[in-house]
Structures are given as structure tokens and as C-alpha cells.
């Protein structure tokens, strides 16, 4: 599937909803919404209503999901698009309806153009969308509650449908309550269509009885309606088995199905018609990052170099194309095509400029690089901060130099923390030490890369302030520090499982209880959840009678 | 006219009821005063109403019902328009407080020593209230029963229960029993914070008994009496104000009063010496585990001892039933005793009014100080007691003896 064309019909209300969904295509101005020039083949920026220019080839499939989402999000539905079965077959240009009324990118959404970085950018959006769809809150994935007005569905009341024509179908002919009911509600939870628990005792409901009266049925022993007797046989037997004082009696015509007594725990009774499958709960489904946002001068320079090279290659190709076209035109005797114009980089209209990393010029960094011969991986400056990346072996040495060297004198370790990079090769964590020199008014960041399961040497001997910070890192990431006086958890309880700030740790904690903070008063959440969950392929399952 | 034994007993019983009634009313009033005084000091208003809204249960509800508290609250709302007397707003609160304490659930910790746990609040309370047997509120008879009064006609009704000549000793002796209530209660709670509070309290009260008694010796030495009535009478009349001795005596009484008040604060566990129940350190100190009526017994005993301390101070330093404190009354009498104006002449005679006024003022000072001062640390408190107050009082005692000798 791919989207070839996008255009804006008349009637845009300038609500920004589309730009929030898909900023790569839409740009909302003061009056209307435009399709961005970057994304179009003709390079113009307009509403695209009349010209209906095509999207760039590489964006057609990559931005499909977000364009669909933007179209769905548009309150006045003026975003129209041509959707084709595949990017290779742009023939069937039939405006397709949005595949689903989803207001956010579907889980297959792919992040912006050209970026090798993919999904993590929109992880939060996906989660939010799923949350919204399920009507759950940020950190809950509890069962979607039923509208309060709806009768409680009978979990156990759905026996496997036997063939209707089967004459030997068993059915309950009579149900009655013996003396001694303790009004425990267990039977009503199992079979609300038959039993009704009052203040003093339990009644057989009139709806299922032949005589239509409501009583305990102890004396008269009135019969059950045959169809109800068939339908509700399992639940009645379950209720009878489940009765703590065994006062529910019944007569069965035919072979009674074997029903196991069901334990009455609160969670099961309270479950709605749809139970969220735990393992598929969106907050537990962690989308692992695919990029390694480790700032580094080498990487940046390589990227820049590659970008310049790509730009040059593109320009060379454009020129070559022009030359061939010119030669061809000359040969055919036509007018020469216009020479290509090299694209000027866009002027930055915003008060925002990316602070690029630069070579280390600060004497501290140079001095440290000299001192730690060969143990420094890289030293650079970015955002006005000094960053020194060292090998884990040289960490303690580095810190000792930082503190002890007369020309450095970094007296205080103000902060120490770690970051998890599951997608990285060769390391899993970076641990950073923020040092300040109070006497020289300088800051320095020392960074080490740590492998999974690798221990670091503790800095407590050099900087006592590392004590709690290292405990916190251990608590949150699981990196152990050798030589630490008390390597225990600090914020989480001692018996906590997992390390919460790792990326594979879900936002809904393991072992967290299912509390649904949200009450579905109007039923809106229920309807939306059903519709959206179905569309998004989220695992909502109907509980079985098992 | 000498009463018969029966008459004597009946009158005594009535007096007991009167004094106890007075104290038992004053104590809840004191809690109310504490709310208001500390509230006003802290630029708040304190309690201004009892349960419910202005007129009914709650304004804006569909069923507006006029309730007793609603009417009271409406009246108090009106009171708020008038300066000074608006301090009476929230007065019914003291009844509500008492009711609340009475009806609260009574909790006894599982591992507590139950007998002692129950006994100790009573002990503290009994000690605090028995003291009033020897305190004389009025100099002589408060009034005489009219002659037509059945059975008691013509007999005096005194403002005191007993007028024993060693009243001070009795008071000090009985009051020091109160500490057993605190210590035993703390120990019986079987809990760590009360234990610390009880230990603190024991050490504190025992060590402050010494300077308290020594400072009380100053007026005793100066007047040569241990009796309440005699003390103030002698102070007002017997010792003449002549020259250096008289001035020295007044000065000594003045200083002694402050020393005595300091010790009194410590003796009653009030700020700045409320270490036994320092809520910021020991949660609630010795009564952490107490609740309901048992807690209120401790509470009552603390406030009752505040009244005792105030009564002692006003009797021994502030001139008792006479107008002027610190032995200045003779000078006043000298000028105004034979004044043609009846009111001025009346100020030279003893009256229960002066005594009560002094007590109230001292109680106010208790609250005022509580609102102002921070709290000492435990070791500093001991230092103040042993290293500062005891030498100080000893010196004063010696000076008092010298003055007595000189007179």
C-alpha cells in the first residue's frame, strides 16, 4: 500500500491536527494547510488541491500511516489522498477511505523520511494511541469495564452450543433454594439470569420460571422454562457447586454436563466481557529503541561527510542528467532544457540551532588526553560542555587525575547516572560522571561505556558522593560497582524484580495490580476500545467458560 | 458559731464540689483559650464555630435544617463583628472537645501492661487534683449562708478546702506524685517513643523540683510562713517597706518570680521545656499510645498543674489575695488604706478577685510563651536546671536569709 497524492479540500479550519500527526507532509499556515514542498515531486508548497502533485517516491509508503492518521484526525475531513495497493502500481488511483478511525499512527508507523532511525520516535504516540483506544490510563492496562447499565454477562453461561436438533439435550427442569441461604451473592455472580439475591435470601427469578413468580421455589418447586433450562444448565450447575452452604438444588433431565466448581475470587467476578490479555497489554509491550543516540564527534563527522558526499553525488547526477538531456536535445534539435539549480540549504527561520559537537579545544580535555595515554576514546565539546569518553579500565585513573591533578582540581562529583542503549553493539550502557571544579568554575563530563553484565569500579573512594548515586544506578539499571561499601537497592524495595530504567522494562510495572482508574460512565470508552482495538489488532479476548 | 460535725462535712462537700467544679471548668476553657490565644498570636482566628454551617447543617443543601450548632454558629458569626469580644467566638468548642474525648475509641496496645496502663492516667490526674485541697482561693469565707438557710444557716462557705499551715509542703509533695503517672504510663505502653518521653519526663521533673522548691523558699524565708493566707497577709502588712531591706525584698521577689516561673514551665511540661511530649521528636512523647479518655486524663492533669503553678506563683510572689505583687502592697496600703474613696480603700483589702486575675494572667503567659519560644534540647534542659537555676536559687536563698536577718 502506498499513498501517491495528498491534497486539501476546501474548508480547512486551521486546527493543526494534521501537522501534529504528520509534520513531514502538512504545514499549517495562517489561512490554510499546505502540503510541504519537501515532500512533493514538484517542490511547490500549496494546498495541492488543483495540481494534485504526487508525493516523492520514497515517502509514498513510509509516510502512509501517518497521512492516514492525519486524515482521520482532521475534524472537517478535508484531507484527501490517493491510495494504491502498492507503490509500483500507481494505476488504481481510487480515493480510499481511511482504513481505520485511528487518530494516531498505527503500530506499523515509520518515523520520518530518510532517517535510519525508525520507530522509537513515535513510541510514545503509539502507546498513547493504544491507551486511548483501550480507555486505560498511562500506566494501567486493566480490563475494560462494561457499561454499568448492561447486565453482567455470564461468564460461565456460555456452554459449547450443542446442535439444536439433538433430542438428548440435557436441561434443568427445576431449581429451588433449600433452607439456610447465607445471602452470599455467589450464585447471582454465576447465574444472574436465574438467581436474585435479596436482603434475606435468594430468589429464583420470575423470568425463567413457568409460573412467573419470584420466590425461593422451595415449596412449590415450579419448573423452569425449557429453553432457559437448556441454555442455563451450565451456569446453574456451576452456581449450585459454588454455593458455600449447598442449598441450591436442581433436577436435571438427561445427562448433566460435568462442571467443575469455580473458585470465587474477586478478580474473576469483577471481570468485564473483555479481558485484556496481559502479555499483549500495550504498556507491557515495550518497543525497543533501534537507534543509539550516543553523541559522539566521530559519528557526527562521518554523518556530515556522508551527507556532503550524498549531496555532491546528487548534484553530479543532476548535472550528468542535464548534460545527457542537453546532448539529446541538441541532437534532436530541440531547445535545451533548463540547467539544474543547486538547492540552497533552507534558511533557519526559528530561534533554534542544533549545537553540533566540535573538536576538543579546552586545555582540560587536552591535558587529560595527554595524561591518560590511550585510555581516552574520544574527547569533544558540545553545547558548551566538555565530554571525555574513557575506557572502563581507565575510569578510576581518570577520576583520580581529575580530582588530584593540580591543574584540573575537579573537587566535586555532582551527578552520576547511566543510559541504556539496547540497540548498541559492543556496549549496553553509558555511565556519565558530571564533575565540577569549584575553584576553577569548570564542568566536565566523563563517560564510560559498559557492557551488559560488566561491573564498574566504584568511585566512592575518590568521591564519597558517589555512594548513593551508584546505588541508584544499580537499582535502576543493574550495573554493579565493585568496591562499593553497600551495593543494595536504594529507591525500589529490596525484593523488586527488574531494573526500571532499562528500556526493556515496561511502563506498567511487573506485578502491578490491575486498577482501572477510569470509570466508563458513558460507555464511550467501551465503544471506542472495541472499534479501535479490533482495527489495531490488539488482543482483546472473550473469556471462555473454562 | 461552731458547726457540728454533720454541718462541717456537708459544707466541706459543697466546697469540694465548688473547687473541683471551678477547676474542671477552667481546664477545658483553658484549652479553648489556647486555641484562641495562639491563633491570635499567629495572625489566625482560632476556632470560630462548632460543627456545621452558619444556620443549618450545611448551606446550599436542599434540606436546610436548623440545628443547635447552627444557631450557635450564627450567633458567633454575629460576634465576629465586634472587636475584643469576638475572641469568644468558638467558645462552645470546649464542650465539643470534651465530648469528643469522651466518645473516642479507647485503644490499649496489645503488649502493654494493662493494669499499669489504665492506672497511670488516673494517678496523674489524682495527683494533679488533690493539690487543690491546700490552695486557698479566697482569703477567708467566700460568703455566709443566710440565717434562714436550712441546716447551714449562718455558717461560712470558704474559698478553700483546708487551711493547713504547711500548705506549701503538702502541695509540693502531692504534685511530685504526678510524675509517677507519666513514667508508669510511658513504661506500660511498651513502645519506644513513650519510653524515651517517660525517661525524659522523669529526669526533667525530678531535677526541676529542686530549683522550684528553692525558689519558693525565698518568699517563705522572707515571710516565715508556709500557709497560703498567712503568706499574703504577712506580705501585705507585716513586713514594713523601709529603706534598703524593703527594696531588696521586692527585687528579690521579682527575680525569684521569674526563676520560679521558669521552673514551673518545666514542671508542667510546657514549652519551652515540653521535651516529654515533644511532638517533633517523640511523636507525642509519653502519651503516644494513649487515646480517648485516658489521654484526656493526662491532658487534664497537665492543665490542672498549670493552674496549680499559677496559683502558687500568685500566692507566693504576686501578692496572693492582695492587689500588688512582690511585696509592694504595704506601700500601697500606706497611702490608700484610709482613703476617703471606698474603692481605693477596698483595693487595700484582700479579695478573691485579685487572686483569680493573677491566675488568669499567668495562664495567659503560659500560652503566650508557648506561641513564642522554641524548645530546649534534653541535655540543655538539664544544664539549665542544674548549672544555672540551682546556683541561682541558692544565691537568692542566701540573700533572702540575709534580708530576713536584717529585718
Amino acid at each position: 500500500m502506498a499513498i501517491t497524492k495528498v491534497w486539501i479540500e476546501e474548508g480547512c479550519i486551521v486546527c493543526n491536527a494534521c501537522e501534529a500527526e504528520c509534520p513531514d507532509v502538512f504545514h499549517v499556515t495562517e489561512e490554510s494547510c499546505h502540503i510541504k514542498g519537501d515532500s512533493r515531486k514538484d517542490g511547490r508548497e500549496s494546498e495541492n488541491r488543483d495540481e494534485k502533485a504526487e508525493l516523492k517516491a520514497d515517502l509514498q509508503s513510509s509516510l502512509e500511516a501517518s497521512i492516514v492518521a492525519a486524515a482521520a484526525a482532521c475534524p472537517v475531513e478535508v484531507i484527501k489522498y490517493d491510495q494504491v495497493a502498492s507503490a509500483d502500481a500507481p494505476g488504481s488511483a481510487e480515493p480510499a477511505a481511511a482504513p481505520a478511525v485511528i487518530a494516531s499512527p498505527a503500530p506499523v508507523a515509520v518515523a520520518p523520511e530518510g532517517a535510519p532511525t525508525a520507530a522509537p520516535a513515535v513510541d510514545a504516540d503509539i502507546e498513547n494511541a493504544v491507551d486511548a483506544a483501550l480507555g486505560t490510563t498511562g500506566n494501567t492496562a486493566a480490563p475494560v469495564p462494561a457499561p454499568s447499565a448492561a447486565p453482567r454477562p455470564v461468564a460461565a453461561a456460555t456452554p459449547p452450543d450443542p446442535p439444536a436438533a439433538n433430542p438428548a439435550k440435557p436441561r434443568v427442569t427445576k431449581v429451588w433454594i433449600e433452607d439456610g441461604c447465607i445471602v452470599c451473592n455467589a450464585c447471582e455472580a454465576d447465574s444472574p439470569e436465574v438467581f436474585h439475591v435479596t436482603e434475606t435470601t435468594c430468589m429464583i427469578k420470575p423470568g425463567v420460571r413457568l409460573d412467573g413468580k419470584e420466590s425461593e421455589n422451595r415449596v412449590e418447586k415450579n419448573g423452569l422454562k425449557p429453553e432457559d433450562g437448556e441454555r442455563l444448565i451450565t451456569s446453574i450447575i456451576t452456581a449450585s457447586k459454588g454455593c458455600p452452604v449447598d442449598v441450591i438444588k436442581y433436577e436435571v433431565l438427561g445427562d448433566a454436563p460435568v462442571v467443575e466448581a469455580k473458585p470465587h475470587d474477586a478478580a474473576e467476578v469483577a471481570a468485564g466481557p473483555f479481558v485484556l490479555d496481559y502479555k499483549a497489554a500495550p504498556n507491557r509491550q515495550v518497543v525497543m529503541p533501534k537507534t543509539v543516540p550516543l553523541p559522539s564527534l566521530h559519528t557526527y563527522q562521518e554523518e556530515q561527510k556522508a551527507a556532503v558526499a550524498a549531496d555532491g553525488a546528487k548534484w553530479a547526477k543532476q548535472q550528468a542528467d542535464f548534460e545527457t538531456a542537453k546532448a539529446k536535445a541538441l541532437a534532436e534539435g530541440k531547445d535545451a532544457p533548463k540547467p539544474p539549480v543547486r538547492a540552497v540549504p533552507k534558511k533557519n527561520e526559528n530561534d533554534m540551532e542544533f549545537p553540533a559537537p566540535s573538536e576538543a579545544k579546552d586545555p582540560d580535555l587536552l591535558h587529560l588526553t595527554d595524561l591518560l595515554d590511550g585510555k581516552v576514546s574520544q574527547a569533544f565539546e558540545q553545547s558548551g560542555e566538555l565530554i571525555l569518553q574513557v575506557h572502563p579500565d581507565g575510569l578510576i585513573e581518570t577520576l583520580m587525575f581529575c580530582k588530584g591533578d593540580a591543574s584540573l582540581r575537579y573537587e566535586m562529583l555532582v551527578d552520576q547516572t547511566a543510559t541504556h542503549y539496547p540497540a548498541a553493539e559492543g556496549f549496553a550502557f553509558s555511565v556519565v560522571y558530571q564533575l565540577i571544579s569549584i575553584s576553577r568554575h569548570k564542568r566536565l563530563r566523563v563517560r564510560v561505556l559498559v557492557k551488559e553484565g560488566q561491573d564498574l569500579e566504584s568511585a566512592v573512594e575518590i568521591y564519597p558522593s558517589a555512594n548513593w548515586m551508584e546505588r541508584e544506578i544499580y537499582d535502576m539499571f543493574g550495573i554493579r560497582f565493585t568496591g562499593h561499601p553497600d551495593m543494595t537497592r536504594i529507591l525500589c524495595p529490596e525484593d523488586w524484580e527488574g531494573h526500571p530504567l532499562r528500556k526493556e522494562y515496561p511502563t506498567l510495572g511487573w506485578g502491578q495490580r490491575d486498577i482501572d482508574f477510569r470509570e466508563d460512565r458513558s460507555g464511550v470508552l467501551m465503544r471506542m476500545a472495541l472499534e479501535k482495538a479490533g482495527n489495531m489488532g490488539i488482543n482483546l479476548k472473550v473469556p471462555k467458560a473454562d | 458559731m461552731t458547726p457540728t460535725l454533720i454541718q462541717y462535712l456537708v459544707i466541706s462537700l459543697l466546697q469540694i464540689v465548688a473547687v473541683l467544679g471551678f477547676v474542671m471548668t477552667l481546664v477545658p476553657l483553658l484549652t479553648f483559650a489556647e486555641r484562641k490565644v495562639i491563633g491570635y498570636v499567629q495572625v489566625r482566628l482560632g476556632a470560630t464555630r462548632v460543627a456545621g454551617g452558619l444556620w443549618g447543617a450545611q448551606r446550599g443543601r436542599t434540606h436546610q435544617s436548623r440545628t443547635i450548632t447552627g444557631g450557635l454558629n450564627g450567633f458567633m458569626w454575629w460576634l465576629g463583628k465586634w472587636p475584643v469580644i469576638s475572641i469568644l467566638r468558638g467558645l462552645p468548642m470546649f464542650i465539643a472537645d470534651a465530648l469528643k474525648l469522651l466518645t473516642k475509641e479507647d485503644i490499649v496496645p496489645t503488649d502493654a501492661d494493662k493494669a499499669v496502663f489504665v492506672l497511670s492516667p488516673a494517678l496523674a490526674m489524682v495527683a494533679a487534683f488533690t493539690v487543690f485541697a491546700a490552695i486557698s482561693f479566697s482569703p477567708g469565707a467566700l460568703f455566709y449562708f443566710p440565717a434562714k438557710f436550712p441546716f447551714l444557716g449562718g455558717l461560712p462557705f470558704n474559698g478553700f478546702l483546708t487551711d493547713i499551715n504547711v500548705g506549701l509542703l503538702f502541695i509540693l509533695g502531692v504534685a511530685s506524685v504526678g510524675v509517677y503517672g507519666i513514667v508508669l504510663g510511658a513504661w506500660a505502653s511498651n513502645s519506644k517513643y513513650p519510653l524515651l518521653g517517660g525517661l525524659r519526663s522523669a529526669a526533667q521533673i525530678v531535677s526541676y523540683e529542686v530549683p522550684l522548691t528553692l525558689s519558693l523558699l525565698v518568699p517563705v524565708v522572707l515571710t516565715g510562713s508556709l500557709n497560703f493566707n498567712e503568706m499574703s497577709t504577712r506580705m501585705a502588712a507585716d513586713v514594713p517597706v523601709n529603706g534598703l531591706v524593703g527594696i531588696g525584698r521586692s527585687l528579690l521577689m521579682f527575680v525569684g518570680f521569674f526563676v520560679y516561673t521558669t521552673c514551673g514551665f518545666a514542671e508542667t511540661n510546657r514549652t519551652p521545656f515540653d521535651l516529654a511530649e515533644a511532638e517533633n521528636e517523640l511523636v507525642a512523647g509519653f502519651h503516644t499510645e494513649y487515646s480517648g479518655m485516658k489521654f484526656s486524663f493526662f491532658f487534664l492533669s497537665e492543665y490542672a498543674s498549670m493552674i496549680t503553678v499559677s496559683a502558687l506563683a500568685s500566692a507566693f510572689f504576686l501578692g496572693g489575695h492582695y492587689l500588688l505583687p512582690f511585696g509592694l502592697q504595704p506601700a500601697w496600703n500606706h497611702f490608700f488604706q484610709h482613703s476617703p474613696y471606698a474603692i481605693l480603700a477596698w483595693t487595700c483589702t484582700p479579695s478573691i478577685l485579685w487572686f483569680l486575675l493573677k491566675i488568669f494572667f499567668l495562664l495567659f503567659v503560659f500560652l503566650w510563651v508557648r506561641a513564642t519560644l522554641p524548645r530546649y534540647r534534653y541535655d540543655q534542659l538539664m544544664n539549665v536546671g542544674w548549672k544555672f537555676l540551682i546556683p541561682y536559687t541558692l544565691v537568692m536563698f542566701v540573700i533572702a536569709a540575709l534580708l530576713r536577718y536584717a529585718a
Binding site: A115, S465 | I38, A371
Partner: protein, 366 residues
């Protein structure tokens, strides 16, 4: 027959003067503290994890709730940290207004500290007097952004709105009487013999220990260091402000009390300067509608009322939420110094030490 043993006592997590849910395990010999182990985590809400799953814009509301008595400072740290990550230039007027509000917030935080600290030591009236002034500043916050405590005051790139009309008058009215109010607190405390006895020489922490333990803020400055981020690494409009960094050398509770009182006076000065020199101009930088970060890693620290408040951000390319966010909470690090301060002292000094460290448990546990 006579056996002595240390008593182990739990100060907290529910205790009147642990300022929240701090639990301190104390080993007492009589009333002397032999060993002190602070135990934290009772208010751990995983703010860092939450913020990693929220956009840069949304994450700000969680900073309100870490140090909830100095939420404006936290907002400033967040906003400036993100601005540093993106390389955003903020208009000068926004800087001035931010500085003014942050200094007012420093006053509220110190007032709350003063009140509760004095209450811990038993002087209950100072608490109410301090809250009287605090209320007024909270009204100023309410006038500026609509909320009193969880302000969410600033936006990335500047401010949401300019200051409302009438705010300047309100601030000036407060400024006019605030110095007298400080005098009142001083009357009640500074020369008071009991206050001096309770604070002088109590909870000592000398400069060396403080630096080694990473202690920052007034606690460090009371030990003699002049380290103040507003001077050393100026942010917002502090480079243009004229103020002193109050220091003391004693390193005890009394010195910290004096330092904080003086800081309130200096904050008062800065607010006046902000009001007088408030430049004209926009309050919001020009930014794209959707902020997408590049690969960058910043640590931005500001001088919060309690010490160095640092925000550490890691941004990934095209990310709308931080890849990693870490809060360097001053209370968390300062609390490390508690055992050093109280071991060998008395139980009552523990209360004074907790008070003088000015910890907010929302920030300690995050």
C-alpha cells in the same frame, strides 16, 4: 543481670518532622545516636521513566511534582535543559520574567523551610508568619500562571503568556513589606537564646566533607564555599543581576539559617532589579510546531533553592521525547550527608539536621 543494648528506633516514615516519608533508622545509646541510616524510596514514582515516555512539552508537569515547594525552579531547569538540548535562544524579556519568578520561588521555598524548621525546633509562630508571606507569593504565581503550587510556569522557548497587568503592582507591594517581615523572623529567632542553643554547633558539616559528599546549595555555602551556580555558570538573566552570595564559615545549623535568611534578602534584591530593568519584546522564541531533537546529550544545572538542580537529557534523532532524562536532585544528594551530621549527637539534633538540610521527599525519591 545488667545488660545494656542499643535501641533501634525508626524515625518515620510517618513522623511529624521527617518532612514527608523519610525513614531514618537510628541506633540509640540512651539519647545519643550511634548509627543513622536514612532509608528512602517511599515516594518513588519513576518520574524519569515517565518523562522518557512523554514529550518534551508534557514532561514539564512532572517536574512540578518532584520538588513541589520549588516548582518554578524545577520548571526553569527543565525548560532551560531542553533549550540547551535543542539550541534554542530565548528572548531577553522571558529571561527576566523567569528570573523574577524563580527568585520569588526561592523565597517561598526558604520561607517554607524556615517555618517548618522552626516548628521542628518548637517555635511554632514563625511557621505561620512565614506562611503569611508565602501565601502572597503564591498569589503572584496564581496571577501569572493560574496555579499556586504545581505551576507549570514556563514553556520551552520562553513563556506561554506575558505577565498579566497588575502583576508588577502586586509584586512591588510584596517587595515593599517583605524586608520588614524578615526582621520579624529574626526578632523571634536570631538572638533567641534557645534557638541559638539548639542550632549553634549542631549538625556540623565542614566544607571539605560537604564537597566530598556532593552537598550543594545553602548547606555548602554555610560551610564557607562560595559556589553558587547563578554566579559561576550564569543562566537566565543572572549574568545581568547584581547580587551577593551570602556565606558563613561555621557550617552548622545556625550558619545555614543565617545564609538562607540572607539569600531571601538577595532574592528580594534580584526581584527588584528584574522589575526595574524588565526589557520590552516578545516572550516566546520562534519555534517549529513540532520539536524534534538531534543526537545530543546535555546536563544543565541551575541553583534551585535546595542546591544544584541538574537535568540530564539524551536526545535521539527525530525524537519527540527524551531518550533519557535524569534529575540530579539536590535533596537526594544532600541527604547523604545526614549520617555524617548526626552520628554521635543527640536525638533532637537529628530533627534539627533533617530540617536544616531542607529535603523534600518528592525530590529525593523522584
Amino acid at each position: 543481670m545488667f545488660k545494656t543494648e542499643e535501641m533501634e528506633i525508626n524515625l518515620g516514615p510517618q513522623h511529624p518532622s521527617t518532612h514527608g516519608v523519610l525513614r531514618v533508622k537510628l541506633h540509640l545509646d540512651g539519647e545519643t545516636v550511634v548509627r543513622c541510616v536514612p532509608m528512602i524510596g517511599y515516594l518513588h514514582r519513576g518520574v524519569e521513566k515517565i518523562c522518557e515516555n512523554k514529550t518534551f512539552f508534557q514532561g514539564q508537569v512532572w517536574t512540578d511534582r518532584t520538588d513541589y515547594v520549588a516548582s518554578v525552579s524545577n520548571n526553569l531547569g527543565w525548560a532551560e535543559g531542553v533549550e540547551k538540548l535543542f539550541g534554542i535562544t530565548v528572548p531577553r524579556r522571558a529571561h527576566y520574567i523567569r528570573t523574577m519568578l524563580t527568585e520569588l520561588n526561592r523565597i517561598t521555598s526558604h520561607l517554607l523551610w524556615l517555618g517548618t524548621h522552626a516548628l521542628d525546633i518548637g517555635a511554632m509562630t514563625v511557621f505561620l508568619y512565614a506562611f503569611r508571606e508565602r501565601e502572597e507569593i503564591l498569589s503572584i504565581f496564581e496571577a501569572f500562571c493560574g496555579a499556586r503550587l504545581t505551576t507549570t510556569a514556563f514553556r520551552i522557548g520562553g513563556l506561554r503568556e506575558d505577565i498579566p497587568p497588575g502583576l508588577e503592582k502586586q509584586v512591588r507591594a510584596f517587595q515593599a513589606r517583605f524586608l520588614d517581615c524578615i526582621e520579624e523572623y529574626e526578632t523571634l529567632l536570631t538572638e533567641n537564646r534557645i534557638w541559638k542553643k539548639r542550632t549553634i554547633g549542631v549538625a556540623l558539616l565542614n566544607a571539605e566533607d560537604a564537597i566530598a559528599l556532593g552537598v550543594t546549595g545553602p548547606v555548602l555555602r554555610a560551610a564557607g564555599s562560595t559556589y553558587d551556580i547563578r554566579k559561576v555558570f550564569p543562566y537566565a538573566a543572572y549574568a545581568e543581576m547584581d547580587f551577593d552570595v551570602p556565606t558563613q564559615t561555621a557550617g552548622d545549623t545556625y550558619a545555614r539559617y543565617l545564609v538562607r535568611l540572607e539569600e531571601m534578602r538577595q532574592a528580594h534584591r534580584i526581584v527588584n532589579q528584574c522589575l526595574d530593568g524588565l526589557p520590552e519584546g516578545p516572550v516566546m522564541a520562534k519555534l517549529p510546531k513540532v520539536l524534534k531533537s538531534e543526537v545530543n546529550e546535555v546536563y544543565h544545572a541551575i541553583e534551585a533553592p535546595k542546591g544544584e538542580l541538574g537535568y540530564y537529557f539524551v536526545g535521539e534523532k527525530g525524537g519527540v521525547n527524551p531518550y533519557r532524562m535524569h534529575i540530579r536532585a539536590p535533596s537526594f544528594i544532600n541527604l547523604q550527608a545526614l549520617p555524617k551530621m548526626v552520628e554521635g549527637r543527640l536525638l533532637a539534633d537529628v530533627i534539627a539536621a533533617i530540617g536544616t538540610l531542607d529535603v523534600v521527599l518528592g525530590e529525593v525519591d523522584r
